[in-house]
Subunit: 345 residues, 4 copies
Amino acid sequence: MNTHPIAVVGASGYTGIELLRLLFAHPHAEIVAITSRSEVGKPLSSVLPRFRHLPGADIPFIAPDIDAIVDSGARTAFLALPHGMAAEYAVPLLERGLKVIDLSADFRLNDAAVYEEFYGHPHPAPQLLGEAVYGMPEIHGDAIKSARLIASPGCYPTSIILPLVPLLREGLIEASSIVVNSMSGVSGAGKKADVSLIFAEVNESLRAYGLPKHRHLSEIEQELSLAAGEKVTITFTPHLVPVTRGIHSTITASLAADFTAVSSCLQKAYGQAGFVRLLGEGQCADTAHVTRTNFVDLGWHHDTRTNRLILTSAEDNLTKGASGQAIQAFNMLHGFSTNDGLMNL
Amino acid sequence: MNTHPIAVVGASGYTGIELLRLLFAHPHAEIVAITSRSEVGKPLSSVLPRFRHLPGADIPFIAPDIDAIVDSGARTAFLALPHGMAAEYAVPLLERGLKVIDLSADFRLNDAAVYEEFYGHPHPAPQLLGEAVYGMPEIHGDAIKSARLIASPGCYPTSIILPLVPLLREGLIEASSIVVNSMSGVSGAGKKADVSLIFAEVNESLRAYGLPKHRHLSEIEQELSLAAGEKVTITFTPHLVPVTRGIHSTITASLAADFTAVSSCLQKAYGQAGFVRLLGEGQCADTAHVTRTNFVDLGWHHDTRTNRLILTSAEDNLTKGASGQAIQAFNMLHGFSTNDGLMNL
Amino acid sequence: MNTHPIAVVGASGYTGIELLRLLFAHPHAEIVAITSRSEVGKPLSSVLPRFRHLPGADIPFIAPDIDAIVDSGARTAFLALPHGMAAEYAVPLLERGLKVIDLSADFRLNDAAVYEEFYGHPHPAPQLLGEAVYGMPEIHGDAIKSARLIASPGCYPTSIILPLVPLLREGLIEASSIVVNSMSGVSGAGKKADVSLIFAEVNESLRAYGLPKHRHLSEIEQELSLAAGEKVTITFTPHLVPVTRGIHSTITASLAADFTAVSSCLQKAYGQAGFVRLLGEGQCADTAHVTRTNFVDLGWHHDTRTNRLILTSAEDNLTKGASGQAIQAFNMLHGFSTNDGLMNL
Amino acid sequence: MNTHPIAVVGASGYTGIELLRLLFAHPHAEIVAITSRSEVGKPLSSVLPRFRHLPGADIPFIAPDIDAIVDSGARTAFLALPHGMAAEYAVPLLERGLKVIDLSADFRLNDAAVYEEFYGHPHPAPQLLGEAVYGMPEIHGDAIKSARLIASPGCYPTSIILPLVPLLREGLIEASSIVVNSMSGVSGAGKKADVSLIFAEVNESLRAYGLPKHRHLSEIEQELSLAAGEKVTITFTPHLVPVTRGIHSTITASLAADFTAVSSCLQKAYGQAGFVRLLGEGQCADTAHVTRTNFVDLGWHHDTRTNRLILTSAEDNLTKGASGQAIQAFNMLHGFSTNDGLMNL
């Protein structure tokens, strides 16, 4: 079977591990290099016991060295690195002829000034921002097919942008009225030693955080503004809740058209989109149905008493919200089938 | 020490158990009767092993019979019964001279027509609606002191009404812009055999429910309208999340005045309120800090980009959201100290 | 690709759902019939929203009718039915020429008297006990290959029998000294409405149950006795803990030989067994590494102070402990590759 | 009311916080000093928001300085410090005339050589070992009443020693046959930044650890040997499970007498012990009934097939397993009522 050699740069964090989980089951992916600064020389299966006995899982970690990555024969590199560090690898890997799919926030914004506003430092490689494609296949599919550098979307943004873009394009809601409340599982905070993330602090805790200007607002508003044809500013409140995986977003907006147009708009936009599941009017999304899958579920209601739309979306933050979506873009980029590697429950 | 004889009618559900937990530690409460249709004759400690060895926990359950309750010597009856059934007990117990604190929804609404709209059947005792006092001590303290029948507020309503009432009274927010998203622990659904509540269905699940017209909207909007001096209609989305206890509400509203007025308004309203803890501007409430207590925590932010207020509140749905608040009203009603029985963490 | 038509009888419980999850990803399985008494006529994807958009998931539930199952063209039937009911289906399906893989306890015991002792009623089809094969591929592989009726092992038994059989065969431990303590996730209790299983009762609860003579002892001791060549009786304490999936067993036994023989014995027995992962001496098994997989992990220690072996095993109760193991046997039965359908993490 | 001035040294970890939670509700305790190296000068309520609005919770943290502690007027110091560090404070505080209740392991062993064997370094103050009293009120009550230095027992040891001591004293079980399996909540590992303790690593994980010679064996075996009148060595396997609080121990041992003697022995030993709840034969302990209380629950079964006793115990690791038991000893030491401060559920 035709396989494509892949490097996963930064393979020991949660998004890296999720990439490996999915790529090992991908019919056209061959993992030829995995990097981790702290695990050099160790076989994957010894660092991540979950992978033991999986064919191929004896591959050793290498240092995140450009030459070594290129020498592995990889033709596409997934970057699962912290924000700010991905650009250091994207630039030389692109120069060496690899395709790069970056899961960090480094190339998601079109505008270096917005990057600096939200991330607090100048963009490390502004010359690439014009070329980078925001890797949401349902929205930017054509651009993805011919991209060199794909900026895979963030977890919260995916759950918010996907349902709102068609509604804004058709002018069905008032852009200025959008209020989003999201809940995220703890894996979204990464695999790191932090007292606020230990079990005894998170269990039986419900809390908002990152108010009022979460970094993800920058990419959310960029994409919503593109769809609306005008600057869109929203209110967004993320919450940390005691689940390992999953993001649930509840989106409220005043209707600017008849409510019946909502269902037909979403049906037209996503009726054929394999990974967007339209639960329909009167239904509520539930993360339990999407964890470990690349699906995003959408349900919606008409609050007739206030004439607002209430839309709920559910996804897995590590799959459709990160690594699954990156592989979905990878499939598009290389002409593989949409479902390849992404149909296991 | 001066003690007051109490009956807990419906003592085997979660709010009933929470009443018992708090009343056993109350310096002025003496539990003289506990009822449960299914546990008649059994000592409390044999039905609820958590209570074993607690002084007084050998008290047996009796049937919920009016004569037996009266004969126990109880002077105040707490009703922890399903909605619709509480009225059957409230009427005769009041006639027999007891004070009644009802934790169901039966007497929370001033208007029998609104009751029928939201609960789907005519009100069973409309003649009492005028007399019943909505038992939120911070809002209706004076009425509580002289009440015969107290309708203790619902769990979601408490977390929403408390922060909004002073802001609406002073006209600081636009009433028509209020959007509330709440998360509730599973104990809020009661102790009942229901597949959708079993651990394997709830764990790792995040979901909205009850859209778009949850029953609690009726009492929320009643109290907000009273505060605003006009009919207030809001959008409210409750969510079920995998914690046992706790409610977290995130309230968003457009500002109608300068944001700085928010802090001073809340400070004025609740600076001396023992159970409302003002975390202050820039702070987020966390249910982990309020579980098993009668506190409700409030934090707030200014979303300057949209000129909205974002306010978060956290409480325990069974304590401040139910049984603790009922005891807080009980203390007021009988002139006990505010903190009596409610200062254990 | 060569596919085999399959019926899943009783497809709406947790083991049935797990069978579907795995079989949809199996390269040689074609699901031609799924039954559920309560969901007749509804498409799978409408009853189990997790399956929406999966190719083939529009298949409707049919009633568990023998003729209808046969008419579907199924050549192998998986029975995911309650204990006692499976025999009613196994007998006629075998008569109609299907292979039967039964996930209930109905055919696990060789001796009808032991069945009656542990299950409290006479065996419904004792004539089949001689023929039924206990479907643990690592132990009864040869018999599985030519079986008509496979009795797939229980969840606890798998985690206990697998590590102990080789040690007993070689006489490395004293059979009379075996003490087993197991912890199980809540899905092991099934998808049923039971107050003791609701989230608020299970969360933050640790408890033993089923003492002192759990039904699973019958099949555990049957297999251990076969291995030891003498009657083996053990002490077994199962515990319910707040996880959805996973079984962990800690096995303690006095050594009857030098401890170093343990590692070589296990290595000889399972060094080539794809789904048994030998973590090695000094390592502890962790269910986090095996959930949703068909792996069982084994680690072991020498308690030199008491000269006991302490062995820990971890598996997913629904996968290696039920549906995954059934598919592993299915692969053997039909000559498919060992790993088919079982290598997704 | 007669109050006793108290210092809590090391008040920001989980056992320190639990001491504060209980002492604030204690009728005879007055907290006059709380120390924390990292929080000096901050009021308790600002560091631990759960304590806000509790009368007295404005007390500021001070540095753990001996003079400052003495100057606070404290007459009893609770030490909630890491093992090895407590001795540094115990010695000078005793010299300055305070009573010391140490929650660390520093003074639990009678024998400095055993300390060094299990803790890996020489004992820091061996001259105090003879005087220190192992602070388990049900076993060493008389010594506690006249002690200067109380070594409060460990969490696992409490759940194991309490049920076994009377059985060993009366020779009802074979000491060499004791096998203990325990499960602990994550708070037992302390409030520390450690990747293995973060929610996403602990949730849905069941694992043994610390095999085969956990440090707590030293104090367990010391007390069991004292009871048996001979050296007792046991096998002990602790497990980490996803709950915040609670320890459950399952104890298995061969009977050396008639099983009926077990119930009468335990009844005789603990029938009047307020905090030991004898669930009785045929009952299983459940941590859900003891969390946040000072109770330890015991149930037991006769495994007639192997003639073993199976005994289950449940406690809260932070309360009866640490801070509650320390306050129970404090009550004894100063002649307060047994239940003071310990009867809130």
